[in-house]
């Protein structure tokens, strides 16, 4: 396996703010690689540097063997990109959007037509090929963008939050298409997400927080960082319960969002003891295998959370309202 993405000591500063603080990473050909982290962790900034939309402040990155700062055009012709916000032209039809993309990337017309038909089939939009994109649902748009992203046979497809804002069923479908494309085209997928369940579809994951990679490995490896099972307690007084657990069992629990999480090697036998010996009222209790949420919480000390609306979110909403009537 050859490396398709190599990142060395990558730093990106916006004025005094360090969005990316020294990232090192190697992604192999054919991998599904996930960048997992909360909003503002530096995921989109990193992806934008890899796609040559931003210039790194320090460090270097090679995509498909080409330095992103030295030859952006060569990098761009070898990658596909699916943005967080739809970047389709909704006044054009699905086929026109794909055709325009093929022209821009210099796909010859005969091959272009064949490729468009083939991909419309894969993402199941063949019967809507001649409909204007503005009549499409969010999931259909995303499928079309994914088809567009691989139209020119990129070596790497970058996906920035590919399933953001989609319902669970649609999200699952998107993953079916992505896996199908990966199988057919051998394309490397590099994606960002803040959905934990989605990260589990990846071959490898980098957990990123505050501009740094805090953990890197397969989902199983990362979950292995948590010893055994996770017991989640809901109590009214979390700090008091945490003290009790620590005193009685010698385990330091983690607290997040009004719940207490306790890692134990054998949850099934520990749970009855816990319920019996804890003096306070327990509202609810659950036992689970560790999820990536637990890993994230353990590594960073805080849960993956949605942050307040940024300026960009406001502009995004404004745009949605503005164009609302046409969607």
């Amino acid at each position: 396996m050859a490396a398709v993405i190599e990142i060395q000591k990558l730093v990106k500063k916006y004025g005094d703010i360090e969005a990316v603080r020294g990232i090192d990473l190697v992604v192999e050909q054919g991998e599904v690689f996930g960048f997992l982290g909360p909003n503002g962790a530096g995921k989109t900034t990193t992806i934008s540097i890899l796609c040559t939309l931003l210039r790194p402040t320090a460090g270097a990155a090679q995509v498909a063997g080409i330095d992103v700062a030295r030859d952006p055009a060569a990098v761009r012709s070898r990658i596909g990109l699916v943005f967080q916000d739809p970047s389709l032209d909704d006044q054009l039809t699905a086929r026109e959007n794909l055709d325009l993309h093929g022209r821009i990337y210099g796909v010859p017309s005969a091959l272009r037509r064949q490729r468009i038909d083939e991909l419309l089939e894969v993402v199941e939009l063949k019967d809507r090929a001649s409909s204007l994109v503005r009549t499409f649902s969010g999931g259909m748009k995303r499928r079309l963008e994914i088809a567009r992203g691989v139209l020119h046979h990129p070596q790497i497809l970058f996906l920035d939050e590919p399933t953001l804002g989609l319902d669970p069923q649609t999200r699952k479908h998107i993953w079916d298409y992505l896996n199908e494309l990966r199988r057919r085209e051998g394309v490397t997928l590099f994606m960002t997400t803040h959905y934990m369940d989605e990260a589990e579809f990846c071959d490898r994951i980098a957990i990123i927080d505050q501009g740094r990679i805090v953990a890197l490995g397969t989902p199983t490896e990362l979950k292995g960082k948590i010893g055994g099972d996770v017991i989640t307690l809901q109590v009214s007084d979390v700090p008091a319960a945490a003290r009790e657990v620590e005193q009685r069992f010698g385990i330091a629990p983690l607290s997040a969002n009004g719940t207490l999480r306790i890692e134990v090697p054998d949850g099934a036998s520990f749970l009855p003891r816990l319920v019996r010996e804890l003096p306070m009222r327990i509202d609810s209790v659950s036992l689970s295998r560790p999820s990536l949420d637990d890993v994230f919480l353990k590594l960073t000390g805080h849960a993956i959370r949605a942050e307040g609306a940024s300026d960009k979110d406001m502009l995004r909403n404004m745009g949605r309202m503005w164009r609302g009537g046409r969607r």
Binding site: S77, L88, R103, I104, V107
Partner: protein
């Protein structure tokens, strides 16, 4: 054209590079704008409402209070009615507004729309700036020229040669303004700046352009402002050709600098030069990466 890195067997090796180079890319950006414009015919109709209001209500109202012989004060013979005077001005207004509004859509498009697709494409970004300018100019020109159908109602006769000249002159004006709009949009990061552009640039440009009143005999400060306004040099030749050919005495409204009436060719050069400088600024701005 470069060859792709080794790939798994059975995968088609793509052809890299843009078909047709810079010109091909410009054409694609332009073509997209034209398709969108054609699809949005409802907007085309609606955008004619404002020029019509100016022409029919504003024009008729002012014409009534000014009397029929507007501009006929010095020489004898037939004057120009106020409605006739502002007719080329209203055509130009349509061009101005379409060009600037069209360019402002770039700001939104870049953050959340199709523009992002273009920005990551392996094309020279100069093609985006040039294609957008030409696309906006084409739309603005058409929006202006549509108003030629009103010529018979304002008493202007259109010979084919006149139409041909007006098409060229309208495109020159549209190009200059569209390039300015794209240059402005390339520096704007939010739509909030749009109001500023509207109030401090578009409206003053419109009022000081000679669209609504002749640019002669004005106070000194205003004369200076009108002569600094590139739109003035775009509107004046349209009026001179459109009304002059119907036998109206319009030369006395023509722009003068130090009492010299400018030849139409010079006015065209001024507007094209302005457009070229603006386009240069826009190209530089698009090629810059953060």
């Amino acid at each position: 054209m470069t060859t792709a890195a080794p790939r798994a067997a059975g995968i088609v090796t793509p052809v890299r590079g843009i078909g047709g180079g810079l010109l091909g890319a410009i054409y694609i950006v332009w073509w997209r704008d034209i398709i969108r414009y054609w699809r949005d015919r409802a907007r085309v109709g609606a955008s004619l409402a404002q020029p019509l209001l100016y022409l029919v209500i504003f024009g008729t109202g002012l014409a009534s209070s000014l009397g029929g012989g507007f501009g006929a004060t010095t020489a004898g013979g037939a004057g120009v009615s106020y409605t006739q005077f502002i007719y080329p001005g209203v055509i130009s207004m349509s061009v101005l507004f379409t060009a600037i509004f069209g360019a402002m859509s770039i700001v939104w498009d870049r953050e959340f729309g199709f523009m992002r697709e273009l920005l990551v494409a392996p094309i020279d970004r100069a093609a985006i700036a040039i294609g957008k300018t030409l696309g906006g100019a084409t739309q603005a020109m058409i929006q202006g020229l549509i108003l030629l159908v009103l010529a018979p109602f304002v008493g202007v006769t259109l010979a084919p040669a006149v139409i041909a000249q007006v098409v060229v002159l309208t495109f020159v004006l549209a190009f200059g303004l569209s390039a300015m709009g794209v240059a402005l949009a390339s520096f704007m990061r939010s739509m909030q700046g749009f109001q500023v552009v509207m109030n401090f640039l578009m409206m003053p440009m419109f009022f000081l352009s000679g669209a609504l009143f002749p640019l002669v005999g004005l106070p000194g400060w205003m004369t200076v402002l009108t002569r600094l306004n590139p739109a003035s040099y775009g509107i004046d030749p349209i009026r001179r050709v459109l009304l002059g050919s119907s036998g109206f005495p319009v030369d006395r409204f023509a722009i003068t600098i130090f009492d010299q009436t400018l030849p139409i060719a010079v006015e065209i050069v001024v507007v094209l030069g302005f457009g070229a400088v603006m386009l240069g600024i826009a190209v530089r701005a698009f090629q810059r990466r953060d």
